[in-house]
């Protein structure tokens, strides 16, 4: 258990008004418990079985229901034509699936997904892939704000520019931005990695708890408790391999990227040990 009563710097600075009480440590997943790694409602799909949906005259709900129906029939590759920037397309897919959007998505596209590999030939609006758990999402053009909010796993890639608050509340996984990103990127980031190949807006990594942000361009300013970290060979190796997967390169080489981590000087760090942090986060 954590040393809950231990006094830390922040206590001496008078930043605490209360002591946090103890929390029970639990084991949520065990490799022997297969049921905890799959969804009961999962579909057995075949990637070689391909279907197309023309979304031109359909609303978002109808498109999502059609994707579900096709997965139920075993289709593992689904192409959505004319998505027309409609909202909430491709959400809640908890399955292996190759999903292609030929066009752009509106708000909350491919949110709450766990498993599919998604490619979007156009742009995405605000809150793309929010709460994504696993899989890959690749966007060929630009993305709106709150891109990858609260994602917990998987790779989320936008090859163009992204709006503000990218990766807000990020809890795991990797976000890659080919261009620039806006203000408050990585706000309250808790785990995972973010790669920004272009410039980053003001207050980068504000109030981040943990995780790592790599920036290839200029940083307008760092947020509260975000500090520069030391780039290691391990960082460079990982960056090279990760970017190569998506055909991307750092404009000035990965070795020259800036690494940003949490300074961990905020009051909420020194009451919990790492295992307990996971439960809280």
């Amino acid at each position: 258990m954590a040393e809950l009563n231990k006094e830390h710097t922040s206590h001496r600075m008078g930043m605490h008004t209360e002591q946090l009480a103890g929390r029970t440590q639990q084991v949520f997943f065990s490799p022997s418990e297969e049921r905890n790694f799959t969804y009961r409602s999962g579909f057995d799909v075949d990637f070689n079985k391909r279907a197309e949906i023309d979304a031109d005259k359909m609303d978002g709900k109808a498109v999502n229901l059609e994707i579900r129906r096709l997965m139920g029939e075993g289709y593992g590759t689904i192409v959505i034509k004319n998505p027309g920037a409609k909202h909430s397309l491709g959400v809640g897919i908890l399955n292996r699936l190759q999903l292609y959007f030929e066009g752009s998505l509106g708000y909350f596209g491919v949110g709450l997904i766990d498993g599919p590999n998604v490619r979007i030939s156009g742009r995405v609006g605000w809150s793309c892939a929010e709460n994504m758990m696993s899989g890959t999402v690749i966007i060929e053009k630009n993305a709106g704000s709150t891109f990858g909010a609260a994602i917990r796993g998987g790779d989320l890639v936008c090859k163009g520019d992204v709006g503000s608050r990218t990766g807000i509340d990020m809890k795991g996984g990797t976000i890659i931005v080919g261009g620039r990103t806006g203000i408050f990127t990585g706000f309250m980031m808790q785990r995972g990695r973010m790669i920004i190949l272009g410039d980053a807006g003001a207050n980068l990594g504000d109030s981040m708890y943990d995780g790592t942000i790599y920036v290839g361009g200029k940083i307008a300013s760092l947020g509260v408790d975000a500090v520069r970290g030391e780039m290691t060979d391990l960082d460079a190796q990982w960056l090279k391999r990760k970017l190569a997967i998506y055909g991307l390169e750092a404009p000035n080489g990965v070795e020259n990227m800036t690494k940003i981590v949490a300074g961990k000087q905020l009051w909420n760090y020194d009451n919990l040990e790492p295992t307990e942090k996971k439960l809280v986060l």
Partner: protein, 311 residues
């Protein structure tokens, strides 16, 4: 929540009434309470276009005398215009309470405006050489049909779908707002201003008039005040980014320009499409898509960004 949209054609007039109707209807889910259009037709140097209302839509359901009162108010407007030697060339009415006048006048336009608005319950929605501002309760299709806007040709337009959060559901609180007393300046806004009262008191002391308690009206008055002080449109908008507090994205249109501004937190959405011949902006891409039959590239402007385009 509210939805805003704007478009400007470069070098030619187009079916902006139909285009703006489509864009705003696509944003209906962001605000079903009221819809407003600021449409810019070909400017004429020898006449003014005035849109005004003499009652709220809901007034028609109050009492038996309202119809008589409306007639009286309109008659008083006509009398006062005649008194100032303003000659009405054309007169249209789409509803019992909202009118469109084309008139010629060579005197002090501000004095005329103030004299007309001195009539109780009369509000000038817009006045200009090119601007026509129409707003009413309901969605874009409904308002567009009611006021026969689909055939309107012009170079640029802004529009708004409103979800009432800080003031009433009425025409007075609907957008766009005309930047009284400046001809052809209109504003639509999505967001909240947190230093509204501080600025309103300051602007009222400088002689500006407010017709509603809607914070969005402040932007129109603020821009008008900045223009009055000699600032150009872009300068006024840049200054607003520093001085107005809150979260906002807004659009301003003048007789030949369209501008957008986004606050420093970038908390309110805006999607932008830009080409050689057309610029279109909206709170959501789905609105821009509604006027394009083919794939287009769009992007989000960034925090603190101000852009101005000319037709």
């Amino acid at each position: 929540m509210c939805g805003i949209a704007g478009l400007i054609h470069r070098g030619k007039a187009a079916d902006i009434g139909q285009e703006m109707t489509s864009m705003l209807q696509a944003l209906k889910h962001r605000g079903p309470d009221s819809t407003g259009f600021a449409l810019y037709g070909p400017p004429a140097s020898d006449r003014y276009i005035m849109r005004f209302k003499v009652a709220e839509q809901e007034d028609l359901r109050k009492g038996f005398d309202i119809h008589h009162q409306i007639r009286q108010r309109k008659a008083t407007v006509d009398e006062r215009m005649a008194e100032f030697d303003a000659k009405i060339i054309e007169e249209d009415t789409a509803t019992e309470y909202a009118y469109r006048y084309i008139f010629s006048y060579s005197g002090d336009i501000r004095r005329l405006i103030d004299y007309i608005e001195d009539i109780k319950n009369v509000e000038i929605l817009s006045l200009g050489r090119a601007l026509e501002l129409i707003k009413d309760l309901g969605d874009a299709d409904g308002v567009s049909t009611q006021y026969d806007l689909r055939g309107f040709k012009g170079t640029h337009a802004i529009g708004h779908t409103r979800m009432a959060t800080e003031s009433d559901v009425d025409i007075r609180s609907a957008h766009p707002y005309w930047a009284y007393p400046f001809a052809d300046v209109s504003v639509v806004h999505n967001g909240q201003l947190t230093n509204y009262w501080m600025f309103r008191r300051s602007l009222e002391r400088r002689g500006h008039r407010f017709m509603s308690n809607c914070d969005s009206e402040l932007i129109a008055v603020y821009v008008a005040d900045q223009i009055e002080r000699g600032n150009d449109l872009e300068g006024a908008m840049r200054r607003s980014i520093d001085e107005l507090d809150g979260v906002f994205t807004y659009l301003v249109a003048t007789s030949d320009s369209l501008g957008m501004a986004k606050d420093v937190m970038a908390a309110k959405p805006m999607v932008l499409y830009e080409s050689e011949s057309l610029i279109a902006l909206a709170s959501e891409e789905v609105a821009i898509r509604s006027i394009f039959p083919h794939e287009i590239d769009t992007f989000d402007p960034y925090e603190g960004e101000v852009r101005v385009w000319q037709n």
